[in-house]
């Protein structure tokens, strides 16, 4: 079995276990304000790091390319409170155009 299947299966099982444990544990365990603040921050920092890697690196090297144009449009669309599909499709279209024009 290759490493992709291993990651797919193990992450799937762990994520289900977390969902189930949430339904099964007493709420009091997570009531501490510090635990709540940190658990609230964790998805935000991970997603932020992930966006940085996906948009500005190629094989761990820092790269600025057509993806910057796409992300700029996404953030502009979000600032203008445009709906979710517009944000994503706008970013994709912009990035694709810049890529094809080889700017």
């Amino acid at each position: 079995m290759n490493s992709q299947w291993i990651a797919v299966i193990i992450t799937s099982l762990l994520c289900y276990a977390i969902k189930y444990i949430g339904h099964a544990i007493p709420e009091i365990w997570l009531a501490h304000p510090r635990v709540q603040r940190i658990t609230n921050l964790i998805p935000i920092v991970l997603l932020s790091g992930l966006v940085a890697m996906q948009a500005f690196t190629t094989k761990t090297k820092f790269v600025v390319d057509h993806r910057l144009a796409g992300i700029t449009v996404a953030i502009a669309a979000l600032t203008a409170k445009l709906p979710f599909p517009v944000v994503v499709i706008g970013a994709m279209a912009t990035s694709a155009i810049v890529y094809r024009l080889k700017i």
Binding site: C15, V45, L46, L50, A55, H66, A74, I75
Partner: protein, 212 residues
């Protein structure tokens, strides 16, 4: 009736984004079967996208597992909340756990009374589940057919989706600070550490910023 209708329209709208996941997964060299397995069993968008992204940027299976699991951890917190509303045992609890995600919890807790909260949870959860899986398959098959995914913007689909997920949560100054700091941190260490580390190491920023 309107609770059911609203829940199912959320299910359709959110589930349609599964087309992006299917396409991105295949663009990042995962198979159609792996994309479908993730949507069916893992069933948590951020974890699915991150797993695929970490491995395609050269990260190990371990760093993909850790990142994906951390991103899935908020579903556990949703589970704690939903358990108080649903009060289930046995097989029903096991089933409810699988569809405990952002949308099912969000639509449920927006309802005024207990009965509507329960209806909203099940309809939204299963609605998203059905459409997310259907569209993952379509997206994966579609991406196989188009070749160079950069020419279709698929390489920014996933970061653009994450920007949209993050954006509404950044109203608080502390959250914005942690977000910007993590972004800069990840980019500044990426050339010096193994792939996956720039992302996972941001958990330390969450602990430091959230400490007080």
């Amino acid at each position: 009736m309107s609770v059911q209708r609203d829940s199912l329209s959320v299910g359709l709208a959110v589930g349609a984004a599964g087309v992006a996941f299917g396409a991105v997964a295949v663009a990042d060299h995962f198979t159609v079967a792996q994309a479908c397995f993730l949507s069916f069993v893992l069933f948590s968008g951020a974890s699915q996208f991150s797993l695929v992204a970490v491995m395609s940027s050269g990260g190990s299976a371990l760093s993909a597992i850790v990142t994906g699991t951390f991103l899935g951890s908020r579903n556990g917190l949703y589970g704690v909340r939903m358990a108080q509303i649903l009060k289930l045992k046995g097989a029903k609890r096991a089933l409810a756990a699988q569809i405990t995600i952002d949308e099912s919890t969000g639509v449920a807790i927006a309802q005024q009374n207990l009965q509507d909260q329960k209806i909203a949870f099940w309809y939204t959860g299963f609605g998203v589940f059905f459409f997310w899986n259907l569209f993952t398959l379509l997206g994966a098959l579609g991406a196989k057919a188009i070749g160079d995914t950069s020419a279709w913007g698929l390489d920014v689909a996933s970061p653009a989706i994450f920007c949209a997920v993050l954006f509404p949560r950044l109203k608080e100054r502390k959250l914005l600070f942690a977000c910007v700091l993590s972004f800069i941190w990840a980019l500044s260490i990426t050339e010096f550490v193994p792939a996956g580390v720039p992302i996972i190491s941001t958990v330390a920023i969450a602990a430091i910023v959230g400490w007080k």
